[in-house]
């Protein structure tokens, strides 16, 4: 698989990251060399191997269903550039 200009633009748009031409070139080169390196794995036959989700052998830790009163709005909104009456205010998202 080769990353080209179109792919890089698509990934950038999905991530809402703006790239100028120079940056796009750099990312194309970086991602291609990463992919080339990873492609070596294709030499291994994995036809009958289940995909691996995690390499840890420990068991998923679980918590009890207890709610903690957070009363969080002040703390949560502290870093927000814009807010109104307890809400985050962001540029209009038009569907």
């Amino acid at each position: 698989m080769k990353i080209d200009k179109n792919t890089i633009n698509k990934i950038a748009r999905l991530s809402r990251i703006k790239l100028d031409d120079k940056e796009s070139e750099d990312y194309i080169n970086d991602l291609n060399s990463i992919l080339d390196w990873v492609e070596q794995l294709n030499e291994v036959n994995t036809a009958n191997v289940e995909p691996l989700s995690n390499i840890s052998s420990s068991i998923l830790p679980k918590r009890e269903d207890v709610s903690k009163d957070a009363n969080s709005s002040e703390e949560i909104l502290e870093n927000a550039p814009d807010k109104l009456e307890g809400f985050f205010a962001v540029p209009k998202v038009v569907e």
Binding site: S53, D82, V93
Partner: protein
């Protein structure tokens, strides 16, 4: 049953599948300890995990996992001992993580089925593809300010069960029955509160149309419908839209649609170029979720009677009709109320049909009129049982019982109290009834003449007059019998 819709050129068949999002009824969120309470002030129930602050890690809520398994059992589905949480990546203002934690390739629950019952006594199975656990997103308010969107993250991270059906549904009515049945099962299991108004249960509808027998057509998905009425409306509109396009020679573009509840129309939400590319991958913050057969067994022990089983039980124990039993079991609160009523007096078990009628017609219509439901009924099951007992022992007539119920409803008194206070006991004294009838006959000589001349219908007139004199308290059967006897004698 004819499920086809007439087009200009030929008949069309709808093919419908539903993705139902059911909020797990839990105290805290799926991966954080924030409260799930509805209607709190904005952003007051948001932990650092929910706000996706750097370095925060998710820890799964054991109870939510158990609720998902319980629901899976209720849907007669396969429970998977091994499932995996994935990241579904997309960018949106009310999704601080930039991804939703969901399950993709390995969901917690696999294939199941749900049966829907039609009025004509037939039924149909709708197959379930899967149920998986995922996080809810926050809430965006778009209409408060012309240039801003306001975001509340209280809902962010709340546990949802997404229940996906096969495209086995063929009509808007079936879609409505299917979601009602799912809602009913969830409420019996107590794994979701089923409150569609508050968004605890909502659905995405996938719909396409085809000529009967053809392959499936291209489908569109209508997002986020939160009432059965809207689901039916949206399906009807969307099917018509697709048929019009196809009949005029066009083709359907696969699209995500929004339904406008005030116009009743659907419109595309995002065009194809913007189509989402979710780039699912296993969430490295979470280990796979493993559930042993032993744990599943323990959860199975907590499963109560579900609507289908309860319905059969009612039919068998109380010899109720299939229809009566379905009405009783459609909502858990109804079957609970019925059980409590019939259990409060041994004798009522022989009068189950009367109990059903009093709950589903008389009590329901009073509740409806007053905008109440069974959970906050002013008449308790025990008090209703007392009223029905008074009817079944002939102490009051059914007609008077209706007034008594209304009185119970508004005053909160028991049936006994009301009957005693107002002296409503049925008149079953032979002499007293005879006396009244004699009076009626004496007062209406012309009518009596006409009756003997062949106007049989006048019997009703005499009954009415006699009832009036006893203020409706005469035992109707005795009144009728004595009246007929007297009129024959007179002849």
């Amino acid at each position: 049953m004819n499920n086809l819709i007439k087009g200009e050129k030929h008949d069309w068949e709808m093919v419908i599948g539903l993705e139902i999002h059911a909020q797990v009824k839990s105290n805290s969120k799926l991966f954080s300890s924030s409260s799930t309470k509805f209607g709190s002030s904005p952003n007051s129930q948001v932990s650092l995990v929910d706000a996706a602050m750097p370095g925060m890690l998710p820890v799964i809520n054991k109870y939510c996992v158990e609720q998902a398994v319980k629901t899976g059992v209720g849907l007669k589905a396969k429970i998977n001992n091994y499932s995996v949480f994935d990241r579904k990546n997309y960018f949106y203002a009310d999704l601080p993580q930039g991804y939703q934690i969901s399950q993709y390739k390995y969901p917690i629950v696999g294939e199941g089925k749900v049966t829907i019952d039609f009025k004509d006594g037939t039924s149909k199975d709708i197959r379930i593809v899967r149920l998986h656990l995922e996080q809810d997103a926050g809430k965006s308010l778009h209409d408060q300010n012309p240039s801003k969107t306001y975001v509340d993250l209280n809902r962010s991270g709340v546990a949802l069960m997404e229940i996906v059906s096969e495209p086995d549904i063929r009509t808007p009515e079936e879609a409505g029955m299917y979601i009602s049945k799912i809602r009913s099962i969830l409420m019996y299991l107590d794994t979701c509160d089923g409150n569609m108004q508050e968004g605890s249960l909502r659905a995405d509808v996938n719909i396409s149309v085809r000529k009967p027998g053809d392959e499936y057509g291209t489908r569109c998905e209508i997002k986020n419908l939160n009432s059965i009425k809207f689901i039916k409306q949206a399906i009807n509109y969307e099917a018509k839209r697709q048929i019009e396009i196809l009949e005029s020679g066009g083709s359907i573009e696969q699209n995500t649609m929004l339904f406008n509840t005030s116009t009743g129309k659907t419109r595309p939400m995002r065009n194809k170029e913007e189509a989402h590319d979710y780039r699912y991958f296993p969430d490295p913050d979470l280990l796979p979720l493993e559930i042993s057969e032993e744990e599943i067994g323990k959860i199975k022990l907590t499963i109560p009677d579900l609507p289908d089983e309860l319905k059969n039980k009612f039919i068998e124990t109380y010899r109720l009709s299939n229809y009566d039993a379905s009405v009783l079991t459609a909502e858990k609160q109804t079957s609970d109320y019925f059980n409590e009523t019939i259990d409060s007096d041994l004798e009522l078990k022989n009068h189950a049909k009367i109990v059903v009628n009093w709950i589903t017609s008389e009590l329901f219509s009073l509740l409806n009129k007053n905008n109440l439901d069974l959970n906050n009924s002013p008449v308790s099951p025990k008090n209703l049982a007392q009223l029905i007992k008074l009817i079944s022992t002939n102490e009051i007539s059914g007609k008077i019982a209706k007034d008594v119920l209304e009185d119970m409803f508004s005053s909160g008194k028991t049936a006994r109290q009301i009957v005693d206070e107002k002296g409503l006991q049925q008149v079953t004294d032979q002499d007293e009834i005879e006396k009244v009838i004699d009076e009626v006959i004496a007062e209406n000589p012309k009518m009596v003449e006409q009756y003997f001349a062949g106007k049989d219908k006048l019997l009703g007139f005499f009954v009415g007059q006699a009832m009036k004199l006893t203020k409706g308290k005469a035992n109707p059967k005795m009144l009728n019998d004595i009246l007929k006897l007297k009129l024959i004698k007179k002849n």
